[in-house]
Symmetry: C2
Amino acid sequence: MTYCVAMRLRAGLLFASDSRTNAGVDHIATFRKMNVFEQPGERLVTLLNAGNLATTQSVVSLLRQRAVGQGAHLMNLTSMYDVAELVGKTLKEVVARDSDGPGQLNQGVDFGANFIVGGQIRGEAPRIFHVYPQGNFIEATEDTPYLQIGESKYGKPIIDRVIDFDSSLAEATKCALISFDSTIRSNLSVGLPIDMLLYKTDSFAPAQPHRITKEDPYFMKVSQGWGGGLKRVFEQLPDEDWFA
Amino acid sequence: MTYCVAMRLRAGLLFASDSRTNAGVDHIATFRKMNVFEQPGERLVTLLNAGNLATTQSVVSLLRQRAVGQGAHLMNLTSMYDVAELVGKTLKEVVARDSDGPGQLNQGVDFGANFIVGGQIRGEAPRIFHVYPQGNFIEATEDTPYLQIGESKYGKPIIDRVIDFDSSLAEATKCALISFDSTIRSNLSVGLPIDMLLYKTDSFAPAQPHRITKEDPYFMKVSQGWGGGLKRVFEQLPDEDWFA
């Protein structure tokens, strides 16, 4: 499976994805699930994906192959809304192509995929969208400033507790690492390394994705500090013998 | 939806269930999802259920209606293994009955349900089982001393971190309340009150389920203490400006 999260804060954007792909637990591979399209000074568009690998790779390949020339594409659209719509349209195109043909060929395979699409295009504020397998999409708001795809439930409670629109990028980074740590501990199908990209509002700076392995010193510090801290909080909470 | 958890520790058993039933968010009702069959001094059998309410109510009603007389039933079976098998068999019977008939009648309804079945019968150690919609079942072991059904993912990380076979019943109680609190915060379809039952190994004492509402002083203490403690641990973890 997969776990990806994106946050849209006043200070900027965070994107993070795991890199485990599996078809059954005996077939586990590492694939990057973060793709960046950028023109520093002008635009940054980041895609995170979850779901059928053939579908997500095809969608990204087509978007990249078409990101030149005159027609509307990821490098010339003038709003992130239009970018989300294009991703949704391309997703529908790929799923229609791959699931076409005499019925039994599909053998019950789910061709679906989810994308998080976000970034900033000059003239607009930073925005993030969740594109569904059906090609439609929702946008994160100030009230709910994050989006998740894939195995999202294990790592949701910590985000709900500590992140709001005014959180800093450093807090977002710390929270995202904890959210991944909780997910990885509870679900075999999500695995390190984590790809993370931070973007400061209006910076239009070149993207510098960071690949976080299990030896990353900050990840180790957060993971151990969080685990130990939780146990201390747990131990310090009072017992009650309602039931004694 | 639903969230239920059971733990089987050296010290005894814990059972806990939420009580929200919904068919769409505009139709929310409270139903007890914990059912106890007991003969103090001899046996305690507890059922927790998740899934189609018509199915789970029918299974419990049939088990109760049949728990008298000569045939094999919940009150005279001599092992928890046989009890789990009977619950699975009754579940299959109900699903087969309700989904029988001219095809279109079902209208795509999922008649499935999951049960946690546990307790102690004199002559055996305490045991807990997860009965699947297909009627087959697994048993919790010392390595993995808990079982969950329903919306289990939000509340799983805390259990994975703090519970093992040698945890006390007080620790189990505290952990279960935190697990429910995390789930309720992140998922609208799980709601208070929580029904909780603790059982001490070899006690064969009368069951005293505890209904935990949002005004319960211990639940409030744990919920607030945990939320505040998490925030403190989070704030105390170092920031890092990899990405500055």
